[in-house]
Subunit: 135 residues, 2 copies
DNA sequence: TCTTGACTTTGAGTGCACTTTAAGGTGTAT
DNA sequence: ATACACCTTAAAGTGCACTCAAAGTCAAGA
């Protein structure tokens, strides 16, 4: 299947601006063109964009992704470096998930306070009791 | 206990600039001053900063936190609104964790490809086989 | 033929969350 | 006394990731 930039944008729920920006930054070095210079995306290209989005949404910067893509372009000799980048990133994502779960616990405790109004267990900053407890 | 802005910054691993910025934006409406105008943080204040950080790190914008803090300042009538904000945010964080786990799976599959070089299961965008498979 | 609409490029603009600068005040140590 | 290390403010600057504007090309439909 062939897709225009707009179709890809709709399918993946991002804007055509973003796709062009990613290409400009070297994140999509493969995109072909039709005789008029218009971008032509294929299924495998869409898979690649999905990987880019995965990396972005999990906190990898555009610059770091660019580095990774450049390594891909250098061929098989860089596979070990790429593996290491991915491994490091995996660990970062795992840490992030753990941290998010801790934050979720904190939010749940806050909600418990709102649900049951447990005085002395938690308090909002502008509650009159806040400054009393603070001393 | 009393803390200077620098001590809080060190304790919570953020910068004094950030703490001043948060106060300026209305996220820390409680901070007291000593006779020279220097900020004085107490233990309860640090707890509040930790909640602010929890909300920020889980994706709540400074503007939204500001709205929440303003509601806190309005007193008990706004508890239900605050509870709803926190509940909505909790759900967003849960969604985010689920999404992160899906992304982690994707990253693990990529790593599996690098570890075992499974041809036809995954491929990098600049691999010669990429365009072949794309057709 | 002419309009509509989707595409192209380059370069500039936006929004957010800090981050720093500049200019100045205060307290302690040598 | 004078340096040093901390604090203060208002305002300007930075970096990132988009996001858009302007000006143009091209193909299909009324």
């Amino acid at each position: 299947m062939h897709y225009t930039i707009k179709q890809v944008a709709e399918k993946l729920e991002l804007t055509a601006y973003t796709l062009r920006y990613y290409e400009r930054e070297g994140l999509l070095p493969f995109v072909e063109r039709d005789p008029h210079g218009n971008r032509v995306f294929r299924d495998a290209d869409i898979e690649w964009v999905l990987l880019i989005r995965c990396l972005r949404d999990t906190g990898m910067s555009v610059a770091e992704i660019k580095r990774y893509v450049l390594l891909c372009q250098e061929g098989d000799e860089t596979i070990e470096v790429r593996r290491q980048i991915m491994l490091d990133h995996k660990r970062e994502v795992e840490q992030k998930i753990l941290q998010m779960k801790l934050y979720l616990d904190k939010i749940n405790k806050k909600l418990h306070y709102y649900d049951h109004f447990v005085v002395g267990q938690d308090i909002d900053c502008c509650n009159p009791k806040y400054k009393t407890r603070a001393k």
